[in-house]
């Protein structure tokens, strides 16, 4: 029956795709030219209170009642330690070891080296032996370690690269089937472990642990007057890239009002 109808119709009719192809050929180069593959964004920064306005009224101490409900959250960053301070006290410091990931411009070879602040010469390409330039450094990786800087701490990560913690926000290093753990998203995502092999034990990133601690601080002091504020105080030698990553951790933990301050030596 179908064959009969075809015959009556006078053979298969094909859609004329030429105009559509012409349109594509024009549109795609046009969009390719105007597309932004690397987008520039901005981060808002506040100057620390009192800076630039050192008048008598600006430096006057606020009343005690006002100070009682203030969190005064500060992240102190040095070349080997990050410490969180709030309510006039300090949380245990996060010690870290620094690794630099390089990508060679000539052959795209990737390698990671442990950073030693005493070493003044830049690392060398593993094959050609030439000295790498600063612009070939792609990432600065900070891994949490013990106080003696001898052992890097590890943590389980989900297949999506999220740090895994328990209900109290403590780092998890092993899971069994049926365990309940949390992925470090904001808010934390509950996971019931079905396949422990999905989780990967990796070095604990200082940025993830910082975000974890900041989220705990936020949960506890969400009613504080300055519950969205954080001051990042850094040492002179700290690289700007680290500051931006710490700002990201703060913003992901719901501290969008970021101020910058200098750590006096």
């Amino acid at each position: 029956m179908a064959n009969k109808i075809k015959k009556i119709g006078g053979g298969e009719q094909e859609m004329d795709l030429k105009p559509f192809m012409n349109l594509m050929v024009v549109l795609i180069p046009l969009l390719l030219i105007s597309a932004e593959f690397a987008r520039i964004a901005i981060i808002d920064i506040n100057l620390p209170e009192g800076r630039g306005s050192q008048t008598k009224t600006a430096v006057k101490k606020p009343p005690k009642e006002e100070m009682d409900n203030k969190l005064l959250l500060t992240a102190i960053v040095t070349d080997s330690v990050v410490t969180l301070g709030a309510k006039g006290g300090f949380l245990p410091s996060l010690f870290y070891q620094e690794f630099h990931r390089y990508v060679a411009r000539d052959d795209q070879a990737e390698f990671t080296v442990k950073y030693d602040p005493k070493e003044k010469t830049p690392p060398k390409h593993p094959v050609s032996g030439r000295e790498m330039t600063i612009h070939e450094r792609q990432d600065i990786l900070l891994y949490a370690c013990d106080e003696t800087f001898s052992e890097i701490k590890k943590c389980l990560y989900t297949p999506f690269g999220e740090m895994v913690t328990d209900a109290d926000g403590i780092v998890v290093t092993a899971v069994n089937v049926g365990d309940t753990v949390y992925a470090l998203t904001n808010p934390r995502r509950l996971i019931v472990v079905e396949n422990p092999a999905e989780f990967e034990l990796k070095p604990l990133s200082i940025y993830d642990e910082l975000k974890n601690r900041l989220m705990k601080v936020k949960e506890r002091f969400k009613d504080a007057d300055d519950a969205e504020d954080i001051i990042i105080a850094a040492e002179n030698e700290v690289i700007y890239d680290k500051i931006v990553q710490i700002m990201d951790a703060a913003r992901m933990a719901d501290f969008p009002n970021i101020s910058i301050a200098k750590l006096r030596s």
């Binding site: 594509m24 969009l31 597309a35 964004a41 920064i45 690289i239 700007y240 913003r251």
Partner: protein, 168 residues
């Protein structure tokens, strides 16, 4: 020999199969349309400057003063103003570190803004500055540049970063 005896095949009109190419083009088109930004960018990236990656997705809304700091030069609106070494040379114990040449240039820009307010071209002095800083610059230089901007009157500061996937 056998072939000669065969009936010659009727020539069939071969048409190009465009379906798979159309599929590919459609995918590329959708991807490019998603990437397309009708707004354009109000920020230009200075040469020899690698911005840090960040999760921030906030876009600069209006054109404002740009201060760029590379490993060897400080630029205002892409014009070299002072060597970065000038900022590094300021003693660390200086309570109010100011980069003199940068301050001079910024003061000029601020005066221009004031003039525009007087003429009615601007409602008020914006005092906004976007700081583009190379990701390998040390915090010391960043602080001195920020302090200089703040001392002139540019207190609303933004840091320019490269947008990374999975941001806020």
């Amino acid at each position: 020999m056998e072939q000669r005896g065969r009936m010659p095949k009727r020539k069939r009109r071969e048409s190009l199969m465009l379906t798979s190419m159309m599929d590919m083009f459609t995918i590329i088109l959708v991807f490019l349309l998603k990437m397309y930004s009708a707004e354009g960018s109000v920020l230009t990236n200075a040469d020899n400057l690698v911005l840090p990656n960040s999760i921030s997705k906030k876009k600069p809304k209006e054109v404002s003063l740009q201060v760029a700091v590379t490993g060897d030069m400080i630029l205002v609106d892409n014009q070299p103003v002072a060597p970065t070494e000038d900022a590094r040379r300021i003693p660390n114990d200086e309570p109010n570190p100011i980069v003199a040449k940068l301050e001079e240039k910024l003061a000029g820009c601020y005066a221009q803004e004031q003039e525009m307010v007087k003429m009615g071209a601007l409602n008020q002095i914006m005092g906004k500055v976007v700081v583009q800083m190379d990701k390998n610059i040390e915090f010391d230089v960043l602080f001195k540049v920020m302090n200089t901007c703040g001392s002139v009157g540019y207190n609303k500061m933004n840091f320019a970063v490269m947008e990374r996937e999975g941001g806020l």
